[in-house]
């Protein structure tokens, strides 16, 4: 029972703070909705289509982030086992890093990371 106590207090605290902040924002924030305010800003004419806030070029960068995130994940157990694995561990990890880095070189060479 006692070992769950700290986790329980944590969860209750998080829930209370979360609801408190949301409730406070709802109570304090001014509410003035109107359809023109939530529209895309155009100089007078009515907008014909929705625009996306982000350029699609960011997509390749987002994908590279995900894949290098996985790569970093493999380094946590490696870092803890660094001493026991010795030189072989370093070689193994650098082969791994090199293979993933080849992908970055490819994306760079193909100009996927450039803004034209």
């Amino acid at each position: 029972m006692l070992e769950w106590l700290s986790a329980g207090i944590d969860i209750v605290l998080v829930a209370v703070i979360f609801l408190l902040v949301l409730g406070l924002a709802r109570y304090l924030a001014p509410k003035q909705h109107n359809p023109f305010k939530s529209q895309v800003y155009e100089c007078g004419i009515f907008p014909v289509a929705e625009i996306s806030q982000f350029n699609i070029r960011f997509f390749v960068i987002a994908i590279m982030f995900t894949l290098f995130d996985i790569e970093a994940l493999f380094m946590y157990p490696w870092a803890l086992d660094f001493k026991e694995l010795g030189t072989l561990g370093v070689v193994e990890m650098f082969i791994f890093l090199f293979l993933v880095f080849l992908g970055w070189i490819y994306a760079y060479k193909k100009g996927a990371l450039e803004w034209q």
Binding site: S52, I56, A62, P77
Partner: protein, 168 residues
């Protein structure tokens, strides 16, 4: 107490998964998916796998869910939240899904392994991360290097697939 915590986490997981599949709004669907992943992560902590639980949060709820929501933000809201959610033959899909569920749960209830000649349940002596590292870098060395090639191919594939469409 452990049963109660398990029940709450299982409820979060299942409701999150159902919300992902049923939800009308694609953004809401993605957030339900994050809820399901967080529930699964809690279950992993209950199963003595704290490193995997953190991995679940970092990779699934962090990277993958953010990538999916990011791609949704690139797209027109009206295309994304189409009026018709389900395929015309969705009833057959549900029937097949329920059949799969019945089949697999029957298997799960039948599942028995005599533990006497295998060993005890997993206990954590020392760091879970270190235990994983001991096995990963010795016994599973080759799969580990193959994973690098999978990641490489995924990166090259994503660049090849989107390059033409991005530059127009």
């Amino acid at each position: 107490m452990a049963e109660f915590v398990f029940f709450v986490l299982a409820l979060v997981t299942i409701v999150g998964a159902l919300g992902t599949v049923i939800s009308r709004n694609a953004y809401a669907s993605a957030l339900w998916m994050v809820a399901a992943f967080l529930g699964v992560s809690g279950l992993f902590i209950m199963l003595n796998a704290p490193f995997i639980a953190m991995l679940q949060i970092i990779v699934y709820a962090g990277a993958i869910a953010v990538l999916i929501i990011f791609v949704m933000m690139l797209m027109d809201r009206r295309v994304l939240n189409n009026k018709e959610r389900f395929n015309p033959q969705y009833l057959w899909g549900v029937v097949l899904g329920v059949g799969l569920l019945a089949d697999l749960s029957a298997l799960a209830f039948k599942f028995r392994i005599n533990l006497s000649h295998i060993g005890e349940n997993l206990t954590l002596n020392g760091s879970n991360t270190k235990m994983i590292g001991d096995v990963l870098f010795k016994r599973y060395l080759f799969p580990f290097e193959i994973t690098a090639i999978i990641l490489l191919i995924a990166l090259i594939g994503a660049v090849v697939l989107t390059r033409k469409d991005i530059n127009t």
